[in-house]
């Protein structure tokens, strides 16, 4: 099937994670979460292993994983900064914030800094519209983000 099962990929580890969750109803999403939690990402080699254990096709598992932007094929940087680009935040100036963040981090959305310090991502609504523009740093939401706040985050994640 043309897949290079590279040497550092631990199929047994994936199998063990699948085994932990296989009795859940609808186990695929919990398994994908657990794999990402464990390995920091979901390497493509893991998908056929999961598919086989769950008796699904590779295509189906790929379809589910690729549907959710939070599931990543490559590990993220040490910190993950998400900036909300949904309607409420846009109306409160999040486009400018986003541009500022990009130039500050010197990366675009979806990219990870070459030194692995930070990954910048767009997100569409954090449910924090009342405090727009909003962002999220390593899972913690932040309201009323401005350029100064981005600068602070930047120096924090680079340290």
């Amino acid at each position: 099937m043309g897949l290079d099962l590279s040497s550092d990929f631990d199929g047994n580890r994936i199998q063990a994670i699948v085994d932990e969750h296989i009795n859940l109803e609808g186990p695929l999403l919990p398994i994908l979460h657990a794999v990402q939690e464990d390995l920091g990402c979901i390497p493509q080699e893991a998908l056929p292993v999961i598919a086989n254990k769950l008796n699904l096709s590779r295509a189906e598992v790929h379809g589910v994983m690729s549907f959710y932007h939070d599931f990543r094929e490559q590990p993220a940087g040490r910190h993950v900064v998400k900036i909300c680009r949904a309607e409420a935040c846009q109306s409160m100036g999040s486009d400018a914030i986003a541009e500022h963040a990009k130039s500050r981090f010197k990366i675009g959305f979806g990219d990870t800094a070459p030194d692995g310090s930070v990954t910048l991502e767009a997100v569409y609504c954090l449910g924090l519209c009342a405090c727009a523009p909003a962002a999220m740093v390593d899972g913690k939401v932040i309201g009323r983000v401005d350029e100064a706040r981005i600068d602070a985050i930047s120096s924090e994640v680079r340290s």
């Binding site: 008796n55 590779r58 295509a59």
Partner: protein
């Protein structure tokens, strides 16, 4: 002639018997409950615009084009997902709906190329049709922004654009034309059951993805083409359509590969075949197909095909191309001389399970009426002859009891000695669909076939028996049913002979048949077997499907009887969802048996010894028919070696490659003085032939095939025979050259003769086939419309007969020299000896036969995956490459037999079924050792084949 356009009702038919009345655009409509508003509209000829709906798959409701307004309901529901309700008043065209539809289409077209005039789907594009239907006149969004259409956006590479995937040999995937309607994904899931496609990403990023963003060829795709058929645009398109253009007329015909007998529309441009599209009214396939039927017809134009008759005096000479007259007089002189010198029984025929009923009928008539003997046999000898015998004994008729639709009503299925997803793929898909709906499956097979476990399918029980122990396992199942009191006593008392059942029950109940007692022998865990027996007996409608893994054994007939016993004792005969169903290997193996191909039977399975049966044919043919049965294929070969059988006419069968013990077949053929091969290609048998008569393909002739469900399907000529004559005409030419005085001008006249002489075909005519599409025999006074299900009110023979099935181990046993058991089978992309499929692009999936061997056995022998190995049995040896897999159990090896270079039948022995001589292909004791390459036999054989295939072409006429 015109292009047949089948109405697409948008959603599948509802099976409900309750009806609902509603009003659509002012018309009153009555439809079954559960029907969609879309389908109800189409029933009265109102087409609601649609893109994501098609009646092969369930409604999805994603395109938002089929919205309607329903009085008393809010909003604009999609008509495909809204079921009808009594008294509903629906409007399919209002100002509001028109606006919505135009808006939706505008969005679709804003991300779709505008190359309609040069697009392969031009003239067959639903997107184009819908743009017309909704009156799209303008796309206000422009084409400048984000899109999937162009490779470069103002000098920047467009990251959303993806190049065409042309990896599949038969169709292309052009993502730039995709509207993400999911029809392909759903067809792959719901119709084919492979789940090879998905929609990756979300929103504007959504794309159709084979596997994990792979190309089609390396994905899980099995190339059935259901996605191509479902695609409303040019995204998935047959390469033949891209190359040739749209067809202008079509003809419904029947596939010439396996015994499923799928109906296809051959879509033509003039005499050129553009594509094969499964016909939704085809009752065997219901609009589905596999990679062979839909795509693998290229052999008809392959350069290897022989189009002129050829002769030679001895087989070491090159072939000489000659005229038909010369070939026929050469043949006639030889055959007549042989009969004069060696007696009338010194020649015979082999009929073909690949040819039509009418052609088969003529070939057996040739030997019976013109040669004056009963020396006729057919390849069913080597596949389903035990089915004929076993089911004939138990039920009174030799055929399968059900139609394929029956699988939709089954609750528990036993699949034994068959691999439907490879061998009978369209039935495999229909079975998988039923399994996904909740039916349970018991697989009895030495190998872990795909049905044991593949996406969304899992057998409740897999009994991995040791090859050769079918009868022991089946009797053990009966043991559990009898001793645990799981049988259907009422059924047995009413339908079967109770005393015979008592005898059988006593036999089966004997402790030596218990699962525990036979476990050592069969390798099947006793507890698993007990559970399987209980499930089958008490799980609802129980159906048995079996293949050559049952019949091709020294106890093939006994195993068929054991299956009949199981069905009878559990009351699983005579209604929908049950039955004993042989999966026939070849398109017309049922028909060739029906047509009197066997040496002891006249058409309709009536013994030649019966004077009243002979009288029917004698009075019609004006000849006397020999009352002695003739020779079976193995007897012909033995007699040839002994010097008493001298000449043979073989239509469409490659006995050298397909029959067991190749050395013996070769010796028999070499000993004959006139071997006439009538085929498309210089097959392996032709290496020993003196006359080659070029055959015609199923596309080039009229006739009928009878599939595994006894369904007589029409084969229709769509192009002129490239060799000049249809096969039935060639047999007639030969018969007349021999003094036969036949005058058939169309196969319908041959069918009329069959109907006039054979009670089960009494009412069959081409007119009736035209009217009904197809008919399942028996079709006579008692069953004027044919018989979808047999033995409904009682068995054909009267009372069902239980027959004691004592297990007798085959003489073919493993020992120190040959410690492994070899069993054989087929693969999806190739067909039998591969004469056709090897000459198509299907070789992309299977270039060579491989030997499947368990890692444990491989390691012991120092064999790595892909190594050349020597495979030796008591009969001979060959070599091929190994494939290490745990699909086979330790101690068992497996191979396919599609390639002549492999010569798997050099290995198989000449052991055969006790009743019918069906060879024991499925069990051979072998040894596997590392090897460097082809064996001496393979090298010699290859040299002989090359030598034998030389042709001296005729000078063109002045």
């Amino acid at each position: 002639m015109r292009l047949i356009q089948e109405t697409d009702f948008g959603t599948p038919a509802s099976r409900s018997e309750k009806t609902v009345m509603l009003t659509i655009d002012g018309f009153e409509v009555t439809v079954p409950e559960g029907t969609s508003v879309m389908r109800a509209s189409q029933e009265v000829g109102i087409s609601v615009p649609k893109l994501c709906a098609t009646d092969m798959v369930d409604a999805f409701g994603s395109c938002r084009l089929c919205v309607v307004e329903i009085e008393g309901r809010n909003g604009t529901p999609s008509s495909c997902t809204t079921p009808v309700a009594d008294g509903m008043v629906v409007h399919t065209q209002t100002g509001k709906l028109k606006d919505i539809r135009r808006g939706v289409m505008e969005l679709y077209i804003s991300d779709h190329p505008l190359d309609c005039l040069t697009c392969a789907a031009n003239g067959d594009c639903e997107l184009q049709d819908m743009a017309g239907a909704v009156g799209l006149r303008d796309v206000r969004y422009g084409y400048e922004g984000d899109n999937h259409v162009v490779a470069r956006n103002s000098d920047q590479p467009n990251m959303r654009w993806m190049p065409k995937d042309e990896s599949n040999p038969y169709f292309t995937y052009d993502p730039s034309k995709c509207i993400v309607c999911s029809r392909c994904v759903r067809a792959c899931e719901e119709v084919q059951g492979t789940f090879a496609l998905t929609i990756e990403g979300r929103g504007f990023d959504s794309r159709v993805s084979p596997g994990m963003h792979e190309d089609f060829l390396s994905s899980e795709c099995v190339s059935c083409g259901a996605c191509v058929q479902a695609c409303p645009t040019a995204t998935l398109t047959e390469k033949s359509v891209i190359e040739i253009g749209q067809p202008e007329h079509s003809v419904v015909t029947t596939c010439a590969y396996c015994g499923v007998g799928c109906s296809f529309k051959a879509e033509m441009r003039g005499e050129e075949l553009v594509r094969m599209v499964p016909y939704k009214d085809g009752k065997a396939n219901r609009g589905h197909s596999c990679v062979k039927g839909r795509f693998a017809y290229g052999y008809a134009n392959h350069q290897d095909r022989i189009l002129n008759p050829m002769i030679r005096d001895t087989i070491d000479e090159p072939w000489r191309e000659v005229s038909w007259d010369e070939a026929l007089s050469f043949t006639t002189n030889k055959l007549k001389k042989l009969q004069k010198d060696h007696g009338k029984n010194s020649i015979g025929v082999i009929t073909s399970s690949r040819c039509t009923n009418e052609e088969t009928y003529l070939v057996q008539k040739l030997t019976r009426a013109v040669f004056g003997n009963n020396n006729t046999d057919t390849c069913a000898r080597v596949c389903h002859s035990p089915t004929g015998y076993g089911l004939g004994q138990a039920f009174g008729t030799s055929a399968g009891t059900q139609d394929f639709d029956s699988v939709e009503h089954t609750d528990v299925v036993i699949v034994i000695g068959a691999n439907p997803t490879d061998g009978h793929p369209v039935f495999g898909s229909r079975l998988k669909k039923r399994l996904r709906e909740g039916a349970q499956l018991i697989v009895i097979d030495p190998r872990r076939i795909d049905l044991v476990r593949s996406p969304h399918i899992k057998a409740a029980h897999h009994l991995p028996l040791r090859p050769g122990t079918n009868v022991a396992v089946l009797t053990a199942l009966a043991h559990v049913i009898v001793t645990e009191g799981l049988m259907d006593e009422a059924f047995i008392r009413e339908r079967c002979d109770w005393d015979e059942f008592q005898d059988y029950a006593e036999f089966a109940a004997d402790e030596r048949h218990s699962p525990e007692a036979t476990e050592q022998l069969t390798g099947v865990p006793a507890e698993e077997l007990r559970k399987a027996a209980r499930l089958f007996a008490k799980g609802g409608n129980g159906a048995i499907y079996y293949g050559l893994g049952i019949t091709e054994h020294s106890q093939g007939s006994t195993a068929v009887m054991a299956l009949a016993n199981l069905a009878m004792m559990t009351g699983n005969i005579g209604r929908k969802g049950v039955g004993v169903n042989p999966l026939r290997g070849q398109n017309n193996v049922q028909g060739s048996c029906d047509m009197g191909s066997f040496p002891h039977e006249l058409p309709g399975y009536r013994h030649v010894k019966l004077p009243e049966v002979r009288a029917i044919f004698e009075s019609l043919w004006g000849v006397e028919i020999d009352s002695e049965p003739g020779l079976r294929i193995p007897n012909m070969l033995d007699a040839a070696v002994d010097g008493t059988f001298k000449g043979i006419y073989i239509q469409g069968e490659d006995i050298l490659q397909s029959d067991p013990d190749t050395h013996h077949v070769a010796a028999g053929l070499a000993a004959m003085e006139c071997v006439v091969v009538h085929d498309l290609f210089l097959n392996e048998t032709a290496n020993y032939a003196h006359v080659f008569l070029p055959g015609s393909t199923f596309l080039e002739k009229d006739g009928t095939f009878t599939n595994a469900e006894r369904r007589i399907n029409r084969v229709r000529k769509v192009m002129s025979p490239k060799n000049g004559y249809a096969d039935w005409e060639i047999t007639q030419l030969l018969a007349n050259a021999m003094g036969g005085n036949w005058s058939y001008s169309h196969p319908s006249e041959i069918m009329a003769e069959i109907a006039a002489t054979t009670p089960s075909f009494a009412n069959v005519t081409y007119d009736l086939l035209e009217e009904k599409g197809s008919i399942q025999w028996p079709c006579n006074e008692a069953h004027p419309d044919g018989s979808p299900i047999m033995h409904v009110d009682g068995f054909v023979r009267g009372k069902g007969k239980f027959i004691v099935t004592e297990y007798v181990a085959t003489d073919e046993r493993t020992g120190p020299r040959f410690p492994l058991l070899l069993t054989t089978g087929r693969i999806l992309s190739q067909y039998n000896v591969g004469a056709q499929t090897r000459r198509t692009a299907n070789v992309a999936w299977h270039e060579e036969d491989r030997l499947e061997i368990h890692p444990h056995d491989a390691e012991q022998r120092g064999i790595r995956d892909g190594d050349f190995v020597r495979l030796a049995s008591r009969a001979g040896e060959t070599s091929l490459r190994a494939l290490i897999t745990d699909r086979v159990a330790p101690g068992v090896v497996y191979t396919t037999f599609h390639h002549p270079g492999t010569q798997a039948n050099v290995i198989t022995t000449d052991y055969s079924d006790w009743a019918t001589n069906c060879p024991e292909y499925k069990v051979t004791a072998v040894q596997v050792t590392p090897s460097n390459g082809p064996t001496e036999w393979q090298v010699e054989y290859d040299a002989q084949a090359k030598q034998s295939r030389r042709i001296v072409h005729a000078e063109p006429a002045e």
